[in-house]
């Protein structure tokens, strides 16, 4: 499961400014040299390893990234299908719970941020400045509980504790009925879950503020777009999912509430629909390759029923619904220890959503529905299950701005992320990874003065689960 990065300078569209401190680059170099030379085989992961006695490397290329065996295990509803899946086979002391947190040090640089020229004086002129900050920090705590309630009935419950105010949220909470009518093609999930997306953000291998989320799933065009849908957030609804016996052919169809996973029915009464199809094939000695396509169509309200003298919106009464869609294709290429996943996605929001205008109001002159394309290239090199390198390049290109007079490349983004994870040991009771990562993002013409903004993140920390 992915950690929620603290804060998000990335979303503030800040920019380059300064480079990394040299001592950390040197430290990174020496550490990297050390871990490459000392990499040894290792074992397991907490809840499922305790249940099945398999090394964690059986299901993960390097945790939390799944390999094909782990994907099938997940697709079977956390079952190995060897008649030992029901909890009645477990020792009563077995507890399917693990926790994960990452103490870390991080450095953030946000460029072209609008600030008062005289700190504390709002009347002073506004200037643009690069904001740098760094220090020790914590991620939130993910409490990972998952397994089977009975044969072919599985569950996932992930309460997350915010490190700032200690509030608890539910990242995931679902029950799944597996292999309905003894068919792997029929599995039904109900609750809050991550959509079956091509690149899981809950299992992503990057943790920094800039690199810790996919632009593919979170990009919002300039112009105040009020569509809050993000693939990266877990959604509330139902999913029908199926796969072939060897998991090479997969489909997932979901119907979710138009709330972006938020509880309490805060939006309207509409639903979003999602479909994902993929096919894998063994390409000789190269390994398992996969291609797929997905699409989502949804609605968001543009205004609400209101109440009182200040016309406060009444939650759940969203009306004036307008549509949006996301559609993409992807391929995952495996060549031995090297793998590359490329995703192309086209996104489109209705003109009312893109211009933050109620459907019963008048659109501004030149208003159009924003559209953009996203390309994501994520590469991994698994030196061993204990040493994992990653690199990612994401680009976002606007193809239609929400206002005709907005420059065509405004908001375009380029994000590079590199990093590695080193697992000094792994066994069935706990896991630990030393994580280092650097990410840099450039957003075109998004500062107040219309200049490019660049954000940088450097992250190093100890990611552990037990």
């Amino acid at each position: 499961m992915r950690f929620r990065p603290l804060g998000n300078l990335g979303s503030e569209r800040t920019s380059v400014g300064s480079s990394l401190p040299k001592p950390f680059l040197l430290a990174t170099f020496y550490l990297l040299s050390f871990v490459i030379s000392s990499s040894q085989p290792g074992h397991a992961i907490p809840p499922f390893a305790r249940k099945y006695g398999l090394p964690c490397s059986a299901c993960h290329e390097a945790w939390p990234k799944l390999n094909s065996f782990g994907q099938q295990f997940k697709d079977e509803g956390y079952q190995l299908m060897n008649d030992r899946d029901s909890p009645v086979w477990q020792n009563p002391s077995y507890w399917p719970v693990a926790m994960r947190i990452t103490p870390h040090w991080h450095y953030e640089s946000a460029g072209k941020v609008a600030v008062n020229s005289v700190p504390g004086d709002p009347a002073s002129a506004t200037i643009e400045k690069t904001i740098n900050t760094s220090g020790f920090d914590l991620t939130g705590i993910d409490i990972l509980t998952a397994g089977t309630l009975a044969k072919n009935i599985s569950f996932l419950l992930v309460p997350s504790i915010d490190p700032g105010d200690g509030t608890v949220g539910f990242e995931s909470a679902n029950v799944r009925f597996d292999n309905i009518a003894n068919s792997p093609w029929l599995n039904f999930k109900f609750g809050k879950f991550e959509l079956d997306v091509p690149l899981s953000e809950k299992r992503m291998m990057t943790l920094s503020n800039v690199g810790g989320e996919f632009q593919l799933y979170h990009f919002v065009p300039v112009g105040g777009d009020i569509n809050d849908f993000t693939f990266g957030e877990n959604q509330l609804g139902v999913e029908l999912m199926g796969h072939s016996a060897n998991d090479h052919t997969r489909y997932a169809a979901s119907m979710i509430s138009s709330t972006n996973g938020n509880l309490g029915l805060p939006a309207g009464r509409t639903y979003d629909g999602y479909l994902h199809l993929s096919q894998a094939f063994m390409a000789g000695s190269l390994g398992l390759q996969r291609v797929g396509a997905y699409g989502l169509v949804g609605f968001r309200p543009t205004y609400f029923e209101t109440s009182g003298p200040d016309a406060a919106p009444i939650p759940g009464t969203g009306i004036g619904n307008r549509s949006f869609y996301r559609a993409g294709v992807y391929g995952s290429l495996y060549i031995g220890k090297f793998d590359l996943t490329s995703v192309y996605q086209h996104s489109s929001d209705n003109v009312y959503l893109g211009n933050a205008t109620a459907a019963n109001a008048t659109l501004p002159d030149g208003a159009r529905g924003p559209q953009w394309n996203t390309g994501t290239f994520e590469a991994h090199y698994t030196h061993s299950p204990k040493l994992f390198f990653l690199g990612r390049y994401e680009l976002v290109r606007m193809t239609q701005q929400s206002l005709a007079d907005t420059l065509s490349d405004t908001g375009n983004a380029d994000v590079f992320t590199v990093g590695y994870r080193y697992y000094p040991f792994m066994h069935s009771r706990a896991g630990l990874a030393w994580h280092q990562e650097f990410a840099t993002a450039r957003f075109r013409k998004t500062s107040d003065s219309g200049q490019d903004q660049r954000n940088n993140s450097y992250f190093m920390g100890l990611d552990f689960a037990f």
Partner: protein, 292 residues
């Protein structure tokens, strides 16, 4: 726009070239990710070693002796590759299995054990794993696998076939372990141990439905094979020397009727006799000490 396309094209080619370069520089095949010692291993064994470390070592242990980190918590215990005694074979009892037997187990897993199906792995992965597993025991150097037993065509399922199978079930005292109703609760059942002196339970035919499987397969042919080869390392002997092929098929047909919750041709035949339990229907409830 052209600049962007050029960049993407350049980036894509760079990725492909990098990938090919990396692939060429590493062990071939679908990689385990583990660097593997060259030693005296051939290429397949080297790859198998890495795969073994990634997938198998937790149960079967670094030395292949079934004493992996998780072995104390697993029942039944993981296979000891040093002893090279394998349950699921197509070869006669006491002989080494064919590679295809071991590969088949990797594909299907072993029912009612900790051994899962490794179907998501590639054929090459499984071949490499078997090549490596065979390095644990010197038996593979000094012995050759046995010749696979021949399985004759299955005769038709008839009332007579099932009745005769039921008689054989009594005569050969299968019930002593498996119980009269095939529930794995015969009088000898509590005393059974495997070759590692670990308690072991006889197969319970009566539990499970249409998806029920045997330890080594799920078809009538698999059940026939289990009779004839035995499950080495367990109390289940081979009956190849004491039973004729037609008799073995009759026994197979009878055993299928013990799977009372399974929709099978055998149970349809039983139903045709009045829907009674197989033993009652065919008059085989006569042995004492059935442990029920």
């Amino acid at each position: 726009m052209r600049t962007i396309r050029t960049k993407i094209r350049f980036g894509s080619w760079a990725m492909v070239i990098l990938a090919v370069g990396i692939a060429a520089a590493q062990n071939g095949g679908v990689s385990s990710g583990y660097p593997t010692p060259k030693g005296s291993f051939n290429a397949s064994q080297q790859r198998g070693h890495g795969l073994y470390l990634r997938y198998c070592v937790g149960c079967h242990g670094v030395y292949g002796d079934g004493n992996g980190e998780h072995a104390p918590y697993i029942d039944p215990k993981p296979r000891d590759f040093v002893a090279a005694t394998f349950k699921c074979r197509s070869t006669p009892t006491g002989t080494l299995p064919l590679d295809s037997d071991l590969i088949h187990v990797l594909k299907t897993g072993v029912q009612a054990s900790g051994m899962p199906s490794w179907l998501p792995l590639s054929d090459e992965n499984r071949t490499d794993l078997v090549a490596y597993i065979k390095t644990f025991s010197p038996r593979w150097q000094s012995e050759k696998p046995g010749d696979p037993i021949k399985i004759p065509a299955e005769p038709a399922v008839t009332k007579e076939s099932i009745t005769h199978g039921g008689e054989l079930f009594q005569k050969m005292e299968c019930w002593k372990c498996h119980g009269q109703q095939g529930r794995g609760d015969g009088p000898s059942a509590p005393t059974l141990t495997d070759s590692k002196e670990q308690p072991i339970r006889p197969y319970n035919f009566a539990e499970g439905g249409n998806d029920s499987r045997f330890k080594c397969g799920d078809t009538n042919q698999d059940l026939y094979r289990i009779f004839m080869t035995g499950l080495d390392g367990t109390p289940m002997p081979s009956f190849a020397d004491v039973i004729q092929p037609n008799d073995a098929w009759d026994l197979v047909h009878y055993l299928r009727t013990l799977q009372v919750h399974r929709k099978s041709h055998e149970n349809q035949v039983v139903k045709g006799t009045g829907g009674k339990s197989p033993s009652a229907a065919f008059g085989t409830e006569k042995s004492p000490g059935n442990g029920n």
